[in-house]
């Protein structure tokens, strides 16, 4: 008996997007990274190409975060005291990209300032040659106030600026246009909303080659199945040729997984939850690996050990087809 392996023919493909700029292109990054370009469902090499591997970013902050799990702070140690040192440590841990999230306030509880974030971004750019993403604290007005100076400070670096949401994207897109950056387009786990925001951003004149789609996800146990299915649907739509769903996808399993009780809390939890550290690491790693199977192109993690674990999975999955 000879079985014919079913192969799906797809009309569309994911758009390729390049983050970062080297000196040649007006930036200072040591190299750039390109994501997207897939012509099949994730890693099915027997029916299409995966020209670019999913990339692993590590999230850092402009100052030591107040509310991170002690397990994360322990892993980063002193590096977390300074964004430059932290970025360097993240590069050493094997990150493909640095994802810098700006804080709402400084260590004394006073509002963060344009001057302070310029300094932080400059430190990170000086400390590492990796491409960089910078996200605001997540409150519209403050995001705009902080991201515009970031865009100016990093003129020409092709940063990924985040996050654009339907209620607040104009200022960030304008800053990306003015200073040659990219944007992260985030919508709350919905195929149509994802598409719509990409269209709105594109309508402002930003080329599709500068938009990364963030469909949002939930952590394992906290709604991952919604994110998972929205991503599968978006990727299927992209392969079927729906142009406005063809942006590479970024998700933040690190942020999602490390804010839940299973990862954050070591005491006063059921005994059968098992060893705290192991559970917390599994939470982030399983969240990330599951989203990789639903089409994530950029995975933002928070724990350096999991970066190494996920790297091994990607190395195995993304290598060219051996069995057909």
């Amino acid at each position: 008996m000879t079985i014919e392996i079913p192969v799906e023919k797809w009309a569309g493909s994911v758009r390729e997007v390049t983050i970062g700029a080297t000196a040649e292109d007006g930036g200072t990054r040591s190299h750039t990274i390109t994501v997207g370009g897939e012509t099949s469902l994730p890693f099915l090499h027997f029916e299409g190409q995966t020209p670019n591997r999913p990339i692993l970013a590590l999230e850092i902050r402009d100052r030591k975060p107040d509310s991170w799990s002690p397990l994360l702070l322990e892993a980063w140690g002193e590096a977390a005291e300074d964004p430059g040192a932290w970025a360097k440590a993240a590069e050493e841990a094997g990150a493909d990209m640095i994802y810098l999230t700006l804080s709402l306030t400084n260590a004394d509880g006073e509002p963060n300032t344009p001057e302070a974030v310029r300094t932080a971004v400059r430190k990170v750019l000086d400390a590492t040659g990796l491409p960089l993403a910078v996200a605001g604290p997540g409150q519209a007005e403050i995001d705009n106030e902080l991201l515009v100076p970031v865009a100016e400070e990093a003129e020409g670096e092709r940063l990924l600026l985040g996050v654009c949401e339907d209620k607040n994207y104009r200022t960030i897109v304008a800053a990306a246009l003015a200073h040659n950056h990219l944007v992260q387009s985030r919508t709350p786990m919905d195929v149509n909303l994802s598409k719509q925001l990409v269209i709105l951003i594109h309508d402002m004149g930003l080329p599709l080659e500068r938009i990364i789609m963030d469909p949002t996800t939930g952590a394992l146990g906290y709604g991952i199945e919604y994110g998972f299915s929205v991503m599968e649907r978006l990727r299927l739509a992209a392969l079927q040729g729906d142009a406005m769903t063809q942006q590479p996808m970024l998700v933040n399993p690190g942020y999602e997984a490390w804010k839940v009780k299973e990862s954050k809390i070591g005491e006063g939890v059921p005994e059968n939850w098992g060893d705290w550290k192991r559970r917390a690491l599994e939470w982030e790693a399983i969240t990330a690996t599951t989203l990789m199977h639903s089409g994530a192109d950029i995975l933002v993690l928070q724990h350096p050990d999991n970066l190494r674990r996920l790297r091994a999975v990607i190395d195995a999955l993304a290598s060219p087809a051996t069995t057909t």
Binding site: I3, Y222, K264, R309
Partner: protein, 447 residues
């Protein structure tokens, strides 16, 4: 492949006799195609039509049932490649690999440990499904003793890993009245092993080096009357696993290729190169049927069980709780009042958190059509009007003497509007995450 209503109509008597209680044969055919009626309702159907319809309606992936005194694991019968197309029906069984070369006391200890393992996830009891016991000694007596030792501590279903007929026989004898999955028939031993499986009416795993070999074997084995089969395509790592399991699912669903229309067993810990938890997670997400784990680690198992629960949730029906006002830690009229949506994960995160802190509290759960806070807010199911309406419907004013309502931090933006909708109430913006409720209440609640 399922037949359409018209195709079914063609093989019905076409007399419109109404004996099936439908007005016409066509109407009955349409109901059959939608699986809302049974062919038994037609007393006049021909034998030939029966055979055709039954063949067409047989599930493209067979259902396999493994049972013991008390519990059962059913896998297979899946109908889609992606959960959003319908749902995934039968959660893969998670089994722990034990070997008879271990001391019986050790085995008892492990069985007891697994038996005691239960975790509560949003009100659902999660646990390990059973044990895969391997006759690694090659000795029937030792194998028997090991199974008996395990069963003295736990009645969970079994997979018996026995490479020969006499070991399989011994294992099944020790397993008594239960219905284990037998592992495995291959090109060399299939006749004798299939004989044992048939005599005891137990499901059988078929192992092959390639899909061609697997398909040939399953046809031979089905030919001798063993119909509940499980496939072991012998995956090794992340990539061949994804390719093989996807291909098998597609062959079964898209081509109704019967020889490979069976659930799949995997051993994610067999490959030293792979991370067992992450490969098992892949198998749960992408088409595994039975997943046999080398390691029993509570932390990893909890994460895998939750993943399985999530992936196998029906996407059309988010798990919801009843809207209403819930009491936590026997609150009085001075206790804080919090509001959230009726999405079960949201509800349990908050209820568990408040309960854990020891704070007495009232939790108003509004009807947000089972959506989480942000999603519900975006969809207009958790706005000021809805909250005010439910606050009234569930009589919060009669429960608390204060007039303070704590809303989730994620919907801080509705606080102004809500104050207008609920005159006399102070709207307090709570934390974004449930885990911060305790510190929030400590800082903000003065009563």
């Amino acid at each position: 492949m399922a037949l359409t209503g018209l195709e079914i109509y063609k093989i019905l008597p076409q007399t419109n006799c109404k004996d099936c209680n439908y007005p016409t044969c066509l109407a009955f055919a349409m109901k059959l195609a939608a699986k809302q009626a049974s062919l038994k309702d037609c007393p006049h159907v021909s034998e030939e039509a029966k055979v055709k319809l039954e063949a067409a309606s047989a599930p493209p992936i067979a259902l396999v049932t493994v049972k013991s005194d008390g519990s059962e694991v059913k896998v297979g019968n899946e109908t889609v490649l992606f959960r959003h197309e319908k749902t995934f029906y039968h959660k893969p069984g998670l089994f722990w690999h034990l070997r008879d070369t271990e001391d019986t006391e050790e085995l008892k200890g492990k069985a007891a440990e697994a038996e005691a393992y239960h975790v509560d996830y949003v009100g659902i009891d999660l646990y390990l499904d059973g044990f895969a016991v391997e006759a690694a000694s090659g000795d029937p007596g030792t194998f028997k003793a090991a199974i008996e030792a395990i069963q003295s501590e736990s009645k969970k279903p079994l997979i018996l890993i026995a490479p020969s007929a006499d070991l399989a026989q011994a294992g099944l004898e020790a397993a008594g009245d239960s219905r284990p999955l037998l592992y495995a028939a291959d090109a060399n031993n299939w006749e004798e092993i299939a004989g044992v499986a048939k005599a005891k009416d137990v499901p059988l795993t078929v192992r092959g080096e390639s899909l061609d070999e697997l398909a040939e074997l399953t046809e031979k084995i089905a030919g001798v009357g063993v119909e509940e089969l499980v496939l072991d395509p012998q995956i090794t790592g992340y990539l061949d696993s994804l390719e093989l399991l996807t291909t098998l699912r597609r062959l079964a669903l898209k081509q109704t290729f019967r020889p490979l229309g069976y659930p799949i067993i995997t051993f994610p810990g067999a490959d030293a190169e792979a991370d067992e938890t992450l490969l098992a997670a892949e198998h749960i997400t992408k088409y595994g049927g039975f997943v046999v784990l080398e390691e029993f680690n509570p932390a990893s198992l909890y994460a895998l069980l939750v993943l399985r629960q999530n992936i196998y949730t029906d996407p059309q029906k988010p798990i919801q709780v009843q809207p209403g006002i819930y009491e936590i830690n026997s609150p009085d009229e001075n206790a804080p009042l919090l509001v959230t949506t009726n999405f079960s994960i949201t509800y349990f995160s908050i209820a568990n958190e408040v309960e854990g802190t020891g704070w007495p509290g009232w939790l108003l759960v509004t009807d947000a059509e089972g959506m989480s806070v942000l999603t519900a807010w975006a969809a207009g199911n958790f706005d000021a009007e809805r909250i005010a309406k439910d606050a009234k419907a569930f009589d919060v004013e009669g429960k608390v003497s204060h007039r303070k309502l704590i809303i989730p931090g994620h919907v801080a933006v509705i606080s102004g509007e809500l104050e207008e909708e609920m005159p006399g109430w102070e709207i307090m913006v709570g934390p974004r995450e449930a885990v911060d409720i305790n510190s929030y209440l400590k800082a903000m609640w003065s009563n």
